[in-house]
């Protein structure tokens, strides 16, 4: 599903974020991406969504070479990905419901169908009662869950999460991990970056560990 082959990424200014990274994630697999801050976790996720491009090596998503995609093809790649951002990237000029509606509007779903789907996604993350609120009124954990609802609303086959439990206490973090587990069970491919040891301990999930841009 996701395949990295000898990927190098150097940012302008000379900083090398990734050095010869190779790995594969199979369809329906859940994988944790760990490592200290600055180890290259966010860069790796950005390469999958073509927010950044590799300097050398290839990044394949669904057997498509993402690094070589033309600008016009990017939207269709991203519609197949659900991305949960470290900084949420919620829109504060509209309510919770409309935030979740946005991906459906972009894909051109009709009004009634998209309303149903948005409510189903909000229900899954337990925010259905807050649909009229402005996201700014939500707690950190709720904002994170809203971001997840937006990522899953158009049922992508791949979910990417960048530090989804970063600033949350243990109880919230467990809640979020439970949501991810439920997606894993219905067949989604998940790649979750985290340095939260409490999340990593219990599970028998595969781990990819990055250290200074090199996969351990």
């Amino acid at each position: 599903m996701i395949s990295f082959n000898q990927v190098h990424k150097r940012y302008p200014g000379g900083y090398e974020a990734l050095k010869g990274v190779s790995f594969d994630v199979a369809e329906g697999e859940m994988v944790f991406l760990t490592g200290h801050s600055g180890a290259g976790k966010s860069t790796l996720l950005k390469l999958i969504a073509a927010i950044e491009r590799p300097n050398s090596g290839s990044v394949l998503v669904n057997n498509q070479n993402v690094g070589a995609l033309k600008g016009g093809a990017l939207p269709y790649l991203r519609r197949n990905l659900g991305i949960i951002f470290q900084d949420h990237k919620l829109l504060f000029d509209r309510n919770v419901f409309d935030n979740v509606l946005l991906p459906l509007q972009i894909c051109g779903f009709d009004h009634r169908e998209s309303g149903k789907r948005a409510r189903a996604a909000l229900d899954k993350v337990g925010l259905l009662k807050r649909e009229k609120s402005n996201p700014i009124a939500l707690s950190g954990g709720e904002q994170q869950r809203l971001c997840i609802a937006r990522a899953i609303v158009n049922r992508p086959s791949i979910l990417l999460a960048d530090e989804p439990t970063g600033n949350l206490d243990a109880a919230y973090a467990q809640e979020i991990m439970a949501i991810f587990n439920s997606f894993h069970q219905v067949g989604a491919t998940l790649l979750i970056s985290t340095h939260d040891e409490s999340v990593l301990q219990d599970s028998g999930v595969r781990r990819l560990t990055l250290k200074e841009g090199v996969l351990q």
Partner: protein, 302 residues
Amino acid sequence: MMRAFAQHFGVLRAVLRRMFASKLAGFLNILVIGIALSLPAGMYLLLQNAQGLVVQLSGTPQISLFLSMDAKTEDIDRLHKQLAQHPAVAGVDFVARAQALEQLKQSTGLSDLISGLEQNPLPDAFVVHPKPGDAQSLDALRGELSKLPRVSEAQLDSAWAYKLEALLKFGRMGVLILASLLSLALVAVTFNTIRLQILTQRDEIEVAKLIGATDGFIRRPFLYFGATQGLLGGIMAWLIVTASLLLLNGQLGALAQLYASQFTLHPLSFGDSLSLLLFSVYLGWLGAWLSVARHLSQIEPR
């Protein structure tokens, strides 16, 4: 098909809501565009009316030849033949001095005064109808005829009409320049409005790009905004021109009555009104398109 229509309609509704989120600001923008467009449109309308007046008054140019008082009957006959055979002349009428005096009596109501004259002060005259030609060739003909024997004076009746025609051409060029400049201003106003919108919606654009919005999807509301603002500005311009016309016609009615005439200004024709609206929609769209092309590519998610 219906779904695509519903989607576009939804965008349009969101655009209108955004335009009048601040009622005053939205209205002021439209007013500025309306005033900018109403100036050339109003001037065009005035010229159009003046043009109609010229056509009405200068339908048949004539040259009046006044003969010297000592012209004899044989001189007159010879001149008549000469004029009738002239290649640039379509027709000739002879107006005898007695006949002219009679006409003067009837048309001016000065019969008492004229009856009191000891002798007829009017000369014999020819009215020459030239073949159609431009102002220069008519003036050359007038010069030539004035040099004929026994002709004391030749007058080109419609000379003023040609002068007015030239003046109108001058005016039309003025309107064209004004319209070009103000169109540019309209494009600039829209360009800037859209630029500000793009800046304030930076987050939304960034997020939309991240979750798979095509450039067309992101561009659409801005283009609709520009076109809608242009349309409303065009309607505003039409209202300004039409209202001004009504006010002017009220005054003009009183003025025309003093001159015993019935001149009124005609409003913008249906075709001209439609052109005005389409043109303003196009300019608004163009301004938005230029702005979006310039600024949207600068927003890439990081």
